[in-house]
Symmetry: C2
Subunit: 442 residues, 2 copies
């Protein structure tokens, strides 16, 4: 019989993920011990309210409201409370007490990550966060370790399950956004207040983490450009389908050349985008997540799986717990986060992308020439023009007849493309701009 | 200016992958050093023939024929020679000298892996092999670390790029197998002698490695059931398409219950299989690889990317070099391979699968009843029967008329399904069995 050293786990938070982590720690203790070389013991679960009903499989005596006391005796602290405070303060206490920390708190890391990683480095502890991006999908280790000898150039991520579920329903089942969101809420894929998901805030926090990791650079959350899917209509999704695209909410992290200096820099942005149907990301359905990574040597990689869910996310948390336990057994200092590259982080205007502009124009001679001139003047060039069959009626009620044009551009600076759209909006030749979407992955 | 310790890298092999690894080590030295915390120096490249033409970017003085001498001064030995000897012997020498070893040699690991991992454990060195399975795709670390707190139940892998390219051509372009293989050879996706790929030998070695890692069990190469794609016809691929499937060569690793004892056991097999069109693996085109992993908590995951290619595989090798360098800097013992579970490894007859049997039968009353009886007698049950429109003509030249049936079964033991096919073959009601394919991923 092997004598294992015992490692005490303090679990902060007894919600959806936390209760699954607790259950798996209790059920699979022997297996986890043999994999990590230490006896892993769940010391307790800190919660706010002891009277809330809990999973019957979890012994009542494990629950406590005294998180600070629980942390004191722990070797590994697992933070699954969410939110900024008191999560930040408790993680600082845990690291200072010498414990390793496992967290799934993307919001906290996107805002306070640098100071927490610095503290971990100073005290010789480790901060693990596989569960913070992509739920169960292993993405942190591949980026940090497997691709450590390569240079990531670009990440296109479907990192929010709620919005992917909604957009997939709109595409596959023909739902309007509101209908799809109602189904998502009913199935438990969307929260009562879906703003964080639908508005792209959740994806933006993940984009900041992914960009920081991929480019070894601190990427502050406020530097991530963000658009949600609130304004995506069934009409847009249908039009995209007709033209061979699918609309996805993407987190895009890129290593780009600073247009001002030509030097290497980083850009991170979240917005709905047109993805070609043959792209691997187009096949990501329902609430699934996927992270598509392009690296100089490795080429195209994709990591696919469940992006959320209590038990799925618990898998990532437990992987980190075993890693932390192995490190305790081995005694090594582990690998600290490194932001050695420290590239400039640029605003979205410096990103290079392609636009798909749907606009209504007066159906008169010279209009297309005028529109082409506006594109050229603003440094954008047109790749495709499609005149839509279903232009809005106008002639019947005495106005000039109008036509609907769908214009696809070549790749250009976001600043040029945005300026073109402003010029179109101001032009007398343009009746209205129906919608604008970026094309990614083409 | 940071003072880095210097780590010497000995590279064994100057072929497609080796020369890319050497080039990247030279070009990206500063970046690799800042990522690993050590100055990484390519000490030399051991090759068999100094006179062979080499990449002009690699200084001639780096090349040597004295691999043993090169190993002696090295901190990290990168073995990319392929084959069993002298690779095995040189890795043993490297480990005994205290060096960490990085290898992409799946054949060697599938045959001698256990003894090499044992030796590494004894001397306190590490043996890294991310490049041995799935080329550039990070799959070893996710299985070993990210899923360390979960239980993998099943792996379905497209792990051979040549066969996926050939099957994809047959499906998408309507090629015959020979035509598709000729294109693969022309494009450099297939070797002059494609037996290792087409016969499933390469995939079998990878299946042994994946199963060993996923189930913490030594899985000997000879225990992996293997069928190649030699006999796959355009007709089979077309029929599969009509029925909503695509034919893929899969490496299948499963945790199953031993039918004899009910105890947990492991099965690994490689064969062509029908994959439903909506399965993520069906969207893996060309020479790409993908590993689909099912785990108890994480659910379905997929890892996708380039399965071969010099520079792509070099990415995986360099990731391992950086991991080894970080370990040297940190001084920790790393994580040894663990085969603690040591489950029984069962033959293919114990696997549970589904068959798709296409057969020609006499077009007479009572034939279907007779066939159904043969299935039932052998413990297999029929899910679907489709009578093909294009049965071979027979009545015209005086023989009895025949019909073509495509029978899909429910899940059953491979032994039962194989016995059913034998019984069909012996039955007077059956003119001939056109082909048999297993269905996976449904």
């Amino acid at each position: 019989m092997i004598e294992y050293r015992t490692l005490k786990i303090a679990l902060l938070g007894g919600g959806t993920v936390g209760s699954q982590v607790a259950r798996l720690l209790l059920e699979n203790g022997a297996e986890l011990s043999s994999r990590s070389g230490a006896r892993i013991e769940l010391a307790g679960i800190a919660v706010r309210d002891l009277d809330k009903p809990r999973d019957a499989a979890l012994p009542r005596e494990l629950f406590t409201t005294d998180a600070e006391q629980l942390i004191l005796g722990a070797d590994i602290v697992v933070e699954l409370m969410g939110g900024i405070e008191p999560a930040r303060e408790l993680i600082v206490k845990a690291l200072n007490s010498g414990a390793d920390v496992v967290t799934g708190n993307k919001q906290l890391l996107a805002v306070h990550g640098p100071e927490l990683f610095d503290l971990a480095g100073q005290v010789g502890a480790q901060l693990y966060y596989e569960a913070a991006v992509g739920g169960a999908i292993p993405i942190i280790r591949p980026l940090r370790d497997s691709l450590a000898g390569d240079s990531v150039t670009r990440i296109l991520g479907i990192v929010n399950g709620t919005t992917n579920f909604v957009l997939d329903r709109m595409d596959v089942d023909g739902d309007e956004l509101g209908e799809a969101l109602a189904v998502a809420t009913e199935l438990g894929y969307a929260e009562a207040d879906p703003t964080a998901d639908i508005g792209g805030y959740d994806a933006a926090a993940k984009a900041a983490l992914l960009a920081g990791l991929a480019f070894h650079t601190n990427v502050p959350l406020e530097s991530v450009y963000r658009e949600g899917i609130e304004d995506i209509t069934k009409e847009q999704v249908d039009l995209a389908r007709e033209m061979g695209y699918v609309v996805k909410l993407l987190a895009i992290c890129e290593r780009i050349a600073d247009p001002a200096t030509g030097e290497a820099a980083v850009s991170a942005r979240v917005h709905p985008a047109l993805v070609p149907r043959r792209h691997p990301l187009a096949a990501v359905h329902g609430a699934h997540n996927a992270v598509f990574v392009q690296a100089e040597a490795a080429g195209d990689l994709m990591f696919y799986g469940a992006g959320a869910g209590g038990v799925q996310t618990a898998s990532a948390v437990l992987g980190d717990v075993v890693s932390a336990a192995r490190r305790h057994v081995a005694g090594g200092p582990g690998v600290a986060e490194s932001t050695h590259a420290d590239l400039p982080v640029l605003p979205v205007s410096a990103a290079v992308t392609r636009y798909h502009v749907t606009l209504h124009v007066a159906d008169q001679p010279g209009v297309l020439a005028e529109i082409a001139r506006l594109f050229a003047e603003n440094g954008a060039s047109i790749e495709t023009v499609v005149q839509s069959v279903a232009g809005p009626a106008g002639a019947a009620d005495g106005q000039s007849p109008t036509a609907t044009l769908v214009i696809g551009t070549h790749a250009a600076l976001e600043a040029s493309l945005a300026a073109t759209v402003e010029a179109l909006r101001a032009s007398a030749a343009v009746t209205s701009i129906a919608h604008v979407l970026r094309i990614e992955g083409a």
